[in-house]
């Protein structure tokens, strides 16, 4: 191993310079693509002209989907949650099966620009459209604030600029290619960003897997024996380390089964109902391409998602071995650096100069933020500087690509659904394009504001975004496709009740509104993260009951539904 490191440390450029070089060149690529692919019409701005190839769309969807949360936080969360981390792994991939089998092909056939567009047309009502716009804006804004915080975090740690300056640099970059290029620019920058982020995630994972287990495939490595010759399985060792320090066994977890079930399902249906993901499937040519690109997107996502639990195990084991019962004075350089960001903090409670990392809060002396695990992992494992710099570029690619996709949903909701479809239907193509660009600019500024002044509830609101999507769009779209008798009254009532119940539950148990409540007060033992499942079921029930008592869906709408079930004769995505 020492030899491997020597071979790779030939450069001597240092982390800082490597980061400038790698991050700088990836940014140059993104801007170059944006200039080359700028949008000239609303159709190019909203759906990239509707002619994106399945592979390019798959890559763009994967980058769009994998946010700062997937890249930076997920492996860290899993490394602390152990088995329970599976809710994110299954929840955020299983949703694509629903998307491919139940939504994407039909929405593509329907051929509109946005999700509220589908809701408004299918339910022949501008009230439904407006409810859709409100949901889309709510979901996207809560989500985008988290991305901007991720950008700031990476800049402040790796380029040692002020976190606010980092957010502003990120804003300018996104503004540039989202406003100029629209969906067309975003699509092709996302393709580049996928390449950067997957490479950046895999390289350190493979290095560490070889170091720890001798197996170059991380997915197999974390189920292998240690390379120290002891013949112990890595997972058995980690289970042992965890219980020694008073934590639950890594492979067992602590959440109740019903909660794990509910959270997984809520994340799956939430994923399938997220507007920035759905809208990507409007950009391909044919129904057939929509199915295929959903499969490709999931394949490309799964590469990262099956590696993350391996990284979690490597990082957790390395972390415990590096710090547990070791003298504070002999901690490596990365420890001090992360301390200065406040994401790692040590208080020597018993004044013995050693770090006691324990499950028991009273005697535990080390507090580690989830987000450190992936970012610090290469440093903890002593990987070469360029790998550390690569991780910074990958994290930025993940955050920027998702932010851009979300901003597009926000701008299209405002310029297309709100202005063109509700407020001023006579607006010209050119006027709509200007409105779209203005809306994107305003949205970037709002997102940047939240990035600089992160509301304390950012983490909570990301879960809220999934819950809201599960409680609103998912049932409305499913019923719209598979139940042609579903009418506007049913769908609107279902969405409104679903969202309100979800908001009530989240604010009650997350922010302490409506009298607040403890874990013991949860309904059916389900956490706010998993409550989207209940709200979704409620939406379905309310929709169907209300439908039974209200006028039937007009014949022509039922015919539209029959038509979207047939894949052929797909026109290009149009506004009318």
């Amino acid at each position: 191993m020492a030899m491997m490191n020597n071979l790779l440390f030939v450069d001597g450029l240092g982390v800082q310079n490597w980061t400038y070089i790698i991050v700088g060149s990836t940014f140059a690529i993104y801007i170059g693509i944006a200039i080359y692919t700028r949008a000239g019409s609303t159709k190019e701005f909203y759906v990239a002209g509707g002619g994106v190839s399945p592979l390019a769309n798959g890559m763009a969807t994967a980058a769009d989907w994998m946010s700062a949360a997937s890249f930076i936080s997920m492996a860290g969360i899993i490394s602390f949650a152990g088995y329970d981390g599976a809710v994110y792994l299954m929840g955020w991939t299983g949703g694509y099966v629903l998307l491919a089998l139940l939504l994407a092909p039909y929405l593509r056939k329907f051929g509109k620009f946005t999700v509220p567009d589908f809701i408004g047309d299918r339910y022949y009502s501008n009230t439904a459209r407006l409810v859709g716009v409100v949901c889309a804006l709510l979901i996207s804004f809560t989500y985008v604030a988290g991305q901007m915080r991720g950008v700031g975090l990476v800049f402040s740690r790796f380029l040692e600029v002020d976190i606010n300056t980092g957010v502003i640099i990120g804003m300018v970059i996104v503004l540039f290619y989202a406003v100029l290029g629209g969906m067309k620019g975003i699509t092709y920058t996302q393709v580049a960003q996928y390449c950067v982020l997957i490479f950046a995630f895999m390289v350190p994972a493979i290095f560490i897997s070889i170091q720890m287990t001798g197996n170059p495939i991380p997915q197999l490595g974390f189920g292998s024996t240690l390379s120290d010759g002891s013949g112990t399985y890595l997972l058995d060792k980690l289970d042992g380390l965890s219980t020694d320090l008073g934590f639950a066994e890594y492979t067992e977890g602590t959440k109740s089964m019903v909660d794990v079930f509910a959270i997984t399902l809520a994340l799956m249906v939430g994923t399938a109902g997220l507007p920035h993901v759905i809208v990507r499937f409007f950009t391909v040519k044919k129904v057939k391409d929509a199915r295929k690109s959903a499969g490709l997107a999931l394949l490309l996502i799964t590469i990262l998602y099956t590696t993350a639990p391996a990284v979690a195990v490597f990082a957790r084991t390395n972390m415990i071995e590096t710090v547990s019962n070791q003298p504070y004075a002999s901690m490596p350089e990365w420890f001090k650096k992360w301390e200065s960001t406040g994401l790692l903090s040590f208080t020597d409670k018993n004044n013995d100069g050693l770090i006691q990392y324990l499950a028991d809060e009273k005697s535990n002396e080390l507090v580690i933020d989830n987000d450190i695990m992936v970012l610090a992992n290469p440093e903890i494992a002593n990987l070469p500087d360029w790998v550390i710099a690569l991780v910074a570029a990958g994290a930025l690619a993940a955050a920027l690509s998702t932010a851009a996709g979300l901003l597009l949903v926000i701008s299209a909701s405002v310029s297309h659904d709100l202005i063109k479809k509700i407020i001023n239907p006579d607006i010209s193509e050119k006027g709509e394009l200007i409105a779209a660009r203005l809306a994107a600019t305003v949205a970037v500024c709002i997102a940047g504001y939240f990035g600089i002044n992160p509301p304390g509830f950012v983490a909570a609101t990301v879960a809220l975004a999934f819950g809201l999507a599960a409680a609103s769009f998912f049932p409305a779209i499913i019923l719209g496709i598979f139940y042609k008798k579903m009418n506007k009254e049913g769908a609107i009532a279902g969405m409104v009740v679903g969202i309100l119940v979800m908001l009530f539950y989240m604010t009650k148990f997350k922010f302490g509104w409506f009298g607040g409540g403890e874990k013991a007060d949860w309904w059916f033992g389900i956490s706010p993260e998993g409550f989207g499942t209940i709200a979704m079921i409620l939406n379905f029930v309310v929709s169907i009951v209300v439908m039974k008592f209200t006028p039937e869906t007009p014949e022509e709408v039922q015919e539209i539904v029959e038509n979207i079930r047939i894949p052929s004769g797909v026109g290009e995505a149009t506004a009318h």
Partner: protein, 85 residues
């Protein structure tokens, strides 16, 4: 076949595929990874307890396969009914 009955037959076959695939989707994730996790954890493959493996690896591999199977099945079905283009 008239257009309407053709469309109905196509839809029926599509729904059957979807139900079968979603059944498998449910079994590998919610059954193997969550409900039956403890029982499956008694079985070990290499360093992995089987329930843990399904929850953090296996379910995801099956998801990918399910979508590609659906793509194939539907491409065939589209051809059969003359809906491919």
């Amino acid at each position: 076949m008239t257009n309407k009955t053709k469309a109905k037959a196509y839809w029926k076959e599509n729904i059957r595929y979807v139900l079968i695939l979603l059944f498998i989707w449910f079994v590998v994730s919610f059954c193997a990874g969550i409900l039956l996790k403890d029982a499956l954890n008694e079985i070990k493959i290499g360093g992995f307890k089987l329930g843990f493996w399904f929850a953090q690896q296996g379910a995801m591999y099956v998801f990918v396969i399910l979508i590609f199977v659906y793509v194939r099945l539907m491409n065939k079905l589209d051809k059969k009914y003359g809906y491919d283009e």
